[in-house]
Amino acid sequence: MKKAKKEVLMQGNEAVAEGALQAGCRFFAGYPITPATEISEILSIKLPQIDGTFIQMEDEIASLGAVIGASLTGVKAMTATSGPGFSLMQENLGFAMIAEVPCVVVNVMRGGPSTGLPTFPAQGDVMQARWGTHGDHPIIVLSASTVRECYEMTIQAFNYAEKYRTPVILLLDEVVAHMREKIVPGGKFEIINRLKPTMPPEWYIPYEDSPTGVPPMADFGGGYRYHVTGLTHDVRGFPTERPDEIKAFNERIFRKISRNMKAVSLVEDYETEDAEITIVAYGCVARSARRAVKDARERGLKVGLLKLITIWPFARAAVERVLKNARVLIVPEMNMGQISREVKRVNQGKARVVTLNKMDGTIITPQEILARIMEVV
């Protein structure tokens, strides 16, 4: 008889590590940093058990460099860090973007700027995750507000990375990463692996466009010798200075994500159907918001929560949907207003957008959100 899966008490960072292993991650390079270190510690133990590789690099720049190198050989690879390290990774993040190398970067947000508040939560890196690396580019950024979601979204991050040949950022916060919750790990997940070339090597055009915009990716050492560069390149991977080739390249890079907006735009609705006041929240704040919605409903108020799981690209369609009913949108964030700008942009004056910003190193509480609801009623 099959034994029922056991419930376990698990920490967010631990769930990330377990999710990565389930997704098929077999390479991790990282540098110690609070509050993300547990991911390194766990994978340093578990990866060698299953023929995977863990290495502690000299800094975060090197960590992402090694991750990209490993991914180029066909191995699923990841790194994890927090704000200061995430800043250092921006350079190679751009490389992974332009060279279209699948990889996952976990950023457990802590208070900033600079060394800031290493052991306290914040949501200050939302815009850095979007625009941190130089040059215009698309990006997929996921978040999580429960331990189970840490697990699932790590798998999802790998799936998107492999499917679209792009780096994917998992943007957590210190609360979610260090919180322990009862979860049933495992379960059935679709695991996506990158498309590989099947044509003879001499026919392989490594960056050729196709309807999906995602070219098949050959492993280094797999018989398809090709060139990978951070320079803007032609379809063969060679540097180009021709405007027609530069334009075609950039258009494809954007198109491969934008045409899949529906597939990558993950949100969760809680009581939004008839909501006149809708809270738009993500990460640990979405937990408080959910409680605030419950409390408000008990008071007879029509309040709902739109939880953003995908942070970037911004869930425009979902916000437009809740705007059909809502006359007020409340955006609580542990920064001075980063996602609220996006909400306002989509809102176009249709509803009143109210912010609730907090930057004192503590989580926004359900009471604080409820108080804001009562103010706008």
Binding site: F220, G221, G223
Partner: protein, 279 residues
């Protein structure tokens, strides 16, 4: 076909990626020739060779060669190479860097790669200047020399790249000049054969920038300077330090056996599996 023509057809992307970006007379082409001759003699399969570079004139080298080629970010070539090698140890990973690339922006990665002893071959083409950006002083520009950012002369002390690699713990360190092109082949061959982190410092010249600004003459003049100032390491051992001041010591400076990272990590995997079985 002459030997050189055969090698060109076998190894260069001659029908795809030429002409190259380097100035006539540049030492990078000589280094590329030496590298190809070394690889050909060793008999590596092209599919198994990964050539990694950073940014700068030297960074453009891999694009011309028919291997798995990877042109990374400035200074970070060794970090990418580390990932490639550890994820697929059977690959022969060779890293090409310049002096600024390897010892300024990539200095930290360089010393840690040397310390870690992963089986990589690092070839550093040292021409004492940032050439591609127009001739600014680098960590190996000698004291008192001119560049576009030290027109009143350079007041910094220069790194000695090979000695830095030795101190950082590299298991193999050798130096040659591009003038000694045929010796350079042999040195690169030895470095690729070496199991462990190996460094080949190639003393080159940038007549276009460094040479022009310091009135050192043509590429040929600078090559002759290399010839006249080179001393074999065996002979250098018999000379006084002051006699070696303006000399380039060429030869194998270090060749020692150290635990190799990949082999050690294979043992870590065994230990990890054992821990799972016994729990």
């Amino acid at each position: 076909m002459t030997e050189a023509t055969k090698l060109i057809h076998k190894y260069l992307r001659h029908d795809k990626k030429f002409p190259h970006v380097w100035c006539p007379g540049c030492g990078i082409g000589i280094t590329l020739g030496a590298l190809i001759r070394a690889i050909d003699r060793i008999g590596c399969r092209k599919d198994d060779v990964v050539l990694v570079s950073g940014i700068g004139c030297s960074g453009r080298l891999p694009v011309y060669v028919d291997f798995n080629t990877l042109h990374t970010t400035h200074g970070r070539a060794l970090t990418f190479a580390t990932g490639v090698k550890l994820a697929k140890p059977r690959l022969n990973v060779i890293v090409i860097m310049g002096d600024g690339d390897a010892t300024a922006i990539g200095g930290n990665h360089f010393i840690h790669a040397a310390r870690r002893n992963i089986n990589l071959t690092a070839i550093i083409i040292n021409n004492n200047i940032y050439g591609m950006t127009g001739g600014q002083y680098s960590p190996t520009t000698p004291y008192g020399m001119k560049s576009t950012t030290s027109v009143y002369t350079n007041i910094e002390q220069a790194f000695k790249i090979s000695e830095l690699a030795v101190t950082a713990g590299a298991s193999f360190v050798g130096r040659s000049t591009v003038y000694h092109a045929l010796y350079l082949d042999k040195l690169i061959e030895k470095a690729i054969h070496k199991v462990g982190f190996s460094v080949v410092e190639v003393i080159s010249h940038c007549h276009t920038q460094y040479g022009r600004q310091n009135e050192l003459g043509s590429a040929v003049d600078m090559l002759k300077w290399q010839r006249d100032h080179s001393v074999r390491v065996e002979k250098a051992a018999t000379m006084k330090p002051e006699e070696l001041d303006d000399k380039i010591i060429i030869g194998v400076l270090v060749d020692k056996e150290l635990p190799v990272y990949e082999e050690e990590y294979a043992r870590i995997r065994e230990r990890a599996r054992k821990a799972v079985r016994s729990s």
